[in-house]
């Protein structure tokens, strides 16, 4: 028994050595050969493809794939011998715990050069923390100002939450010379932080806030709330809400015969799904975005391709994501290396004013020491004929304001 067993073991070991030697030889050969014909450069994409943000997350993944294809069709990274980009997507499931483990898994499991993600600020904050520790550059369109605090590997090419509030207040002057604003917000972290930002900045902008009211998210009926807005005498409404409450609020405004201008800010307000659900009453509603598909010719070109493929316009976050991919490509080109540290350094010195990387409001990208794009600012948008048109500020306006 014993001899048989040891014989088996010996044979096993010998076989294993033979096999692994062969594999090692093959692998070495494989790498060597690939080295000549440009090894693909891996980029990680962290998006919520399932869970409550699933629909937007799927749109982001579609845009990220489209962007990678555009870079590769244009010849890949020339300084790396025409290396193609390879997108590795990970589902962060709209959940902060999953985001932490998935970001970790993605960074440690693959040889990545950079990552981008995660749409929702709450998720991006976690991913950015993990990326910082792993010294992995991360690009994001998330707007939380916290992403610019003590980070050396996080880059935010688009406008920040604090800038959104300012733009939203300034836009109320489009509607009235003496704006009286009602702010209604869901009593969550998102609702309170956004609405407090609005309240702090209102006096300096000459905007009077006549009503400032939290409500419990998940309304059964928005009519009582709208009745209250009506009694406040406001001529402009800022709802800080997610989609289901927004639908009820907009409908209740129509049902209660309230004539009021509405600026819904960003997020759920500036995605195709909003119009699909609200329909004609959405016409003329205002919002704020960090990107819009009509900002310049390049953006319109990408929008046309995306629309043909997916049947709806390229929304704020997804459009910005295409630009982010081109920023990574630009950095790889100048770094002439797939090493994340070198890519990070190249991103820190990025300075573009043309091409797909620069197709945002302002038209230029250059990062300050806090990772903020020093040229970034939000664009005011309005729903017109089922599409979003840029209407503010003057320099970025691509369509006249629709008076309702």
């Amino acid at each position: 028994m014993a001899t048989t067993r040891s014989a088996t073991r010996r044979r096993g070991r010998r076989d294993f050595l033979k096999a692994s030697a062969g594999a090692a030889a093959f692998a070495t050969f494989g790498i060597a050969r690939k080295g000549f014909a440009a090894e693909p450069v891996n980029i990680g994409g962290l998006y919520p493809v399932t869970g409550s943000f699933a629909q937007i997350g799927q749109g982001c993944v579609n845009a990220a794939k489209l962007a990678v294809q555009m870079v590769n069709d244009a010849g890949g990274i020339k300084s790396l011998g025409g290396a193609p980009l390879n997108l590795i997507v990970s589902d962060v499931q709209s959940d902060t715990t999953v985001t932490r483990t998935e970001t970790d898994r993605l960074i440690s499991g693959y040889k990545l050069s950079a990552v981008h993600g995660c749409f929702a600020s709450a998720l991006t904050l976690i991913a950015s923390e993990v990326a910082e520790r792993a010294k992995m550059p991360l690009l994001t369109g998330s707007s939380s100002d916290m992403l610019n605090k003590d980070r050396h590997y996080t880059f935010t090419p688009f406008s920040r939450a604090s800038q959104f509030a300012l733009a939203q207040l300034q836009m109320s002057k489009l509607v009235s010379n003496s704006p009286k604003v009602a702010v209604i917000f869901e009593n969550t972290a998102f609702g309170t932080s956004t609405s407090n930002g609005l309240r702090e900045k209102a006096p300096a902008e000459g905007v009077e806030i006549v009503m400032f009211e939290p409500y419990s998210a998940g309304l059964t009926d928005a009519s009582p709330l709208i009745n209250k807005v009506k009694a406040s005498g406001a001529n402009m409404l800022f709802p800080v809400s997610y989609l289901n409450d927004l639908i009820l609020i907009i409908r209740a405004i129509k049902q209660n015969g309230l004539e009021i201008a509405i600026n819904g800010g960003s997020g759920g307000f500036v995605i195709p799904d909003f119009y699909k659900n609200v329909g004609a009453p959405a016409e003329g509603l205002l919002g704020v975005a960090h990107w819009n598909h009509d900002v310049n010719a390049d953006a319109q070109k990408v929008n046309a391709v995306y629309k043909k493929q997916y049947g709806e316009f390229l929304f704020e976050y997804a459009g910005g994501l295409v630009a982010q991919t081109f920023m990574i490509a630009d950095a790889l080109e100048r770094a002439a290396s797939a090493d994340p540290q070198k890519v990070r350094d190249a991103l820190a010195t990025l300075d573009v004013s043309s091409g797909y990387a620069a197709m945002g409001p302002g038209g230029k990208v250059k990062f300050g020491p806090d990772g903020k794009n020093i040229y970034a600012h939000p664009v005011g948008v309005q729903w017109q004929n089922g599409d979003l048109a840029a209407v503010f500020p003057k320099d970025d306006a691509r369509a006249p304001l629709l008076k309702v």
Partner: protein, 289 residues
């Protein structure tokens, strides 16, 4: 000011009509079968999806689709009683709670799987219109929903009091053993009761569709209010649930108006606690049981 108060009361009554349809179903099942149906909200959700898909695929008005959602849910109710609830009757509270709670979880997750978490709305010509009465605005879709809800409650009341089957149902509710001695088949009566309760949930779903988005978790929004109404109006009392629902709608609306938009529920629960302190059996304890 007066107009604001009047508008708040009208808004409260209108949404109270919807709460009533859900809570009458819960209280009917409790009164007759003596089981708390935690899945009632999910049957509202099914009613909404039936109306949504009929509207999206065949352009059927959600109000017309009542004639589909109610019978479909009636049948589901009969099967639910016959194959599931019947097996846990007399086993104590825990198996019953687990059964209906499990059905609730199951339905929510199947809906997430089949329909995704997206919000779905139906646009009807009356979704955004309203009747003007002086300074008052009465939203058309909610007015129709309220009227149909009241009519259905009236029909149910007449059924319980004027028909043999209705009387048998009340008899089985009061004392199943004596009812059986009188030749009433409790199984059959229970099936009809659960069927009617679910049909009302289906009706609530169809009536909500013109002004409320459908999504898998939508039932839980309404079921909380329904349970409060059922307790406030005395468990098992159909008229009590109806009146309590309307009161709660008005209390919530006035609370939002005068206390704070995040305090509507506080007013409702304060009302519940006060009532229970004074009348532990609910507002209508002792009537009609």
């Amino acid at each position: 000011m007066l107009a604001t108060v009047a508008q708040a009361v009208v808004n409260g009554l209108l949404i109270g009509g919807i709460y009533a349809l859900v809570s009458i179903g819960v209280t009917l099942i409790f009164g007759v079968v003596k089981i708390v149906n935690f899945a009632q909200g999910e049957f509202v959700m099914i009613g909404m999806y039936i109306s949504y898909f009929l509207a999206a695929s065949f352009d059927v008005d959600p109000l017309v689709s009542l004639v589909v959602s109610m019978p479909v849910l009636f049948v589901i109710g009969v099967l639910f009683q016959h194959f599931l609830i019947r097996r846990v009757l007399g086993l104590g509270d825990m198996p019953q709670i687990f059964l209906t709670f499990a059905i609730s979880l199951l339905l929510v997750n199947v809906a997430l799987l089949l329909f995704t978490a997206n919000y779905r709305t139906v646009q009807t010509p009356y979704s955004e219109t309203a009747i003007h009465l002086g300074a008052l605005y009465i939203p058309m879709a909610k007015l129709i929903a309220f009227a149909v809800a009241m009519a259905l409650s009236g029909v149910l009341w007449a059924f319980l009091h004027a028909t043999d089957l209705g009387k048998a149902m009340r008899a089985a509710a009061q004392n199943p053993d004596v009812a059986m001695l009188m030749g009433i088949n409790p199984d059959r009566v229970f099936c009809v009761a659960v069927g009617i309760a679910l049909a009302l949930a289906g009706a609530a779903g169809s009536l909500l569709m013109p002004f409320y988005p459908a999504y898998p978790l939508v039932g839980q929004v309404f079921v909380l209010m329904a349970f409060v109404a059922v307790v406030l109006g005395t468990l098992g009392n159909v008229t009590g649930a109806l009146i309590a629902s309307l009161m709660m709608g008005v209390a919530e609306s006035l609370g939002i108006q005068f206390v704070g938009a995040d305090s509507g529920l506080i007013v409702v629960f304060a009302m519940l606690l006060l009532t229970l302190a004074v009348r532990p059996n609910g507002l209508f304890g002792g009537w009609n049981r």
